[in-house]
Symmetry: C2
Subunit: 446 residues, 2 copies
């Protein structure tokens, strides 16, 4: 008898282990395919809570789960910690620094990074928040500013050290500004001897006429009220025209004003990952204004039905032609959809177009303060905050057993304590020991 | 009536917020003194658990507490995040980059860093474990080695990637080796597809004839047995004569052997912080072989009764002339003693010499495996492990409310999960986005 040779399995390659890529991989669990998930980091990051790392409420590992451990039991997935450098649609391969990986279906989900609207020179003065390293750097800047203010005797310099500017009034900006206000007005209140942390100024700058522009107008009003109550100065219809070191120039109604702020944080814009450009170069696909790939209604790249782009990197329009927002639930549903589509195709079927089912949107401002738009029902205050907490704990537990960490987190939240406000310096050389220089200086009052 | 002028308060300056400095500050709580605590970091580090950060079990913030928050309610303490650069015993001042701080009593507690016995060139190939940054770097190396092994097709190179060498069989070396063995044999077992992590080799190298040399000999035997059971190869009477990249030369009984190991971790020796040299230069105090300051039996510097050196930086001999060991309990008791002595002096009294009261010593090897010497009672196995856990939780809670984190930790320990095994790269520039290079490579099997 001839041995029965198995046909080679359909190979799915996924680039990016964010919400889109991970949900795609997980939704292929029972499919008769070989999945390779490529990510240059070894963990999935729960990005919606990154601002809590930046403000010392959570540790990086609390919102990160090793991809291998999430997918440990799913034996048809192989995780590869690697950077995709190129794709070749003709030979159907993804290039990495260690060689090419062949695919039958390719899912690209590499997301976005921040964007300075042509002012990339602002990057060092106003860092953005997309990676764990970004969050650690923000945390370092925020807490170092308070430390430096404690030592500063010049009132002007002290004021600049205690001025925190968040550029961008979207969900991330609102969350950051609210969290910094809670730090200044509650958490750190008793900790310093020379400064009164409640004198800190927290400015939230938004170019449009209200914060949380994608939300219904009444919720934007509620959010601005909550921010003001927390001690945040909300400046709408205000544009940032210049950032130079500690100096920030604002334009409002054709009036310009320069303020001094040691800590400027960027939450104003995103641009697509560079992989979008590669896909465009190799497939001829169009990119939108921020570099996202214009995909078909089934999330495939035009004329390349076996290449899919999902999540923040994809520009996918709803039936009315409006693009879906760059949020985690869209990415998750897109990942699931593409997995179902691949399975359908393998059995010779097809699927109707992708439709995003929106359950609602939630933005948190501070303790007991959030806004929620749940299927047209507008909520704010404690009830929105409570829904926000429950929703986030639910999703965190789904990936990994973060339950105990989440108890810690609720505990922090309720007690207004911030256990993770350590300053670790990414520029400090590991192993560097306390050095002592022999140098005398003038006495100073401390 | 003349206004009553208060006499200026006695100023105590403490350099270093480790166990010695922090306990000294806390023990001055009800004293009528002004305390300034100087540390270049903003947090107290619970160093005995640093190896758990290095092996992905805990997050940095889990074992770090902001000094300000620990001392928040103690109004006679001011915390200064600053580096001491020099001291001047004549004018009684501590120099910092921002000026001089006058003192009436000075307590120096800047600890130790690792020591390569004249082979400082080994530092990059075999990092040590003293700071949070050291631990993050070790964690990066350990988990990156498994990631690289998964991709490596050359069997020799793969073997080197899966070989972990810990140099030094003291408590830190034993704990590190045991934790890596648990990672390889349990935690990571299901996570990879190309490698079998249980084939990893973990070597513990000790120059003397047994591990845990300061412990009673029967406990050293127990510890070695537990390590072997966990999968660690214990090599005693073995010296490291050369480290060059991945190559490590060992000498045993005049026989030399070179092995290839991608991950070499240093737990072999310490030397005193550079502040010891400064004290010696300024006061004429002697230093011992590893740079610790030889102090009087009341922990003061000879001929300088108002300068104290405590903790790992101090060489303080017991009444038989044997120096007290460099462990946290000694530092804590020294901090308390000096605080009491300062208070006694202020009321015109004195104290008998410092005597360390030893309650016992504990070293953990892995789950359910530890050794303990409690007042002459030798324990090992589960009971020693349980005492170790309870003791550490007790001390962690004393500083800060780490109770919930500790529940997480016990949970990890029991389930053998390691939630914090993320690879964060200290060399990665914050804000760096996923870059894509256009470069084609040869196909490779992955």
């Amino acid at each position: 008898m001839e041995p029965v040779t198995q046909p080679p399995k359909h190979r799915v390659v996924i680039i990016g282990g964010g919400f889109g890529g991970l949900y795609a991989a997980q939704s292929l669990k029972n499919a008769d395919v070989d999945v390779t998930l490529i990510d240059k980091r070894n963990f999935h990051l729960f990005q919606p809570l990154l601002y809590q790392v930046a403000t010392g409420n959570l540790s990086p590992a609390d919102i990160s789960s090793p991809l291998r451990s999430i997918l440990s039991r799913q034996k048809n997935v192989r995780v590869l910690m690697e950077e995709a450098t190129d794709i070749d649609p003709e030979t159907q391969q993804v290039m990495t620094s260690r060689g090419a990986i062949p695919y039958d279906s390719l899912i690209v989900a590499t997301g976005v990074s921040h964007h300075y609207f042509g002012n990339d020179q602002w990057k060092d003065d106003a860092p953005g928040l997309k990676t764990i390293e970004d969050a650690i750097e923000m945390r370092r800047r925020i807490f170092s500013a308070f430390e430096a203010a404690e030592k500063e005797t010049d009132p002007e310099k002290r004021k600049a050290l205690l001025t925190f500017v968040v550029v961008g009034g979207g969900p991330t900006g609102v969350e950051l500004a609210g969290a910094i206000a809670e730090l200044a007005n509650h958490t750190l209140k008793q900790d310093f001897r020379s400064i009164d942390t409640t004198e800190a100024q927290i400015l939230l700058i938004e170019g449009l006429d209200r914060v949380l522009p994608p939300y219904p107008a009444d919720l934007s009003v509620k959010a601005a009220e909550s921010l003001t109550k927390l001690g945040v100065t909300v400046r709408t219809k205000t544009k940032v025209t210049q950032i130079d070191g500690d100096n920030l120039t604002l334009e409002y109604d054709e009036t310009r004003e320069t303020i001094s702020a040691k800590t400027i944080l960027w939450a104003a814009g995103v641009k697509a990952s560079g992989v979008g450009r590669v896909i465009s170069d190799r497939t001829g696909a169009s990119l939108d204004r921020v570099g996202r790939v214009m995909v078909e209604s089934d999330l495939s790249v035009p004329n390349h039905p076996s290449i899919f782009v999902i999540g923040d990197l994809a520009h996918c329009a709803d039936p009315e032609g409006k693009p879906y927002p760059g949020v985690a639930p869209v990415a998750m549903q897109e990942g699931k959809y593409v997995a179902r589509l691949i399975k359908a195709r393998l059995s010779g079927q097809s699927l109707p177009r992708f439709l995003y089912k929106e359950f609602g949107s939630l933005a948190v401002i501070g303790q007991n303060a959030a806004v929620a738009n749940l299927g047209g029902v507008h909520l704010s205050g404690f009830i929105a905050w409570f829904i926000w907490i429950v929703a986030h704990i639910y999703f965190l537990i789904e990936f990994d057993n973060k339950l105990v960490v989440m108890i810690q987190w609720v505990w922090n939240y309720v007690t207004r304590s911030r256990g993770a406000r350590i300053i670790t310096d990414t520029t400090l050389v590991p192993g560097e020991s306390p050095s002592v220089r022999s140098r005398k200086e003038e006495p100073v009052n401390v």
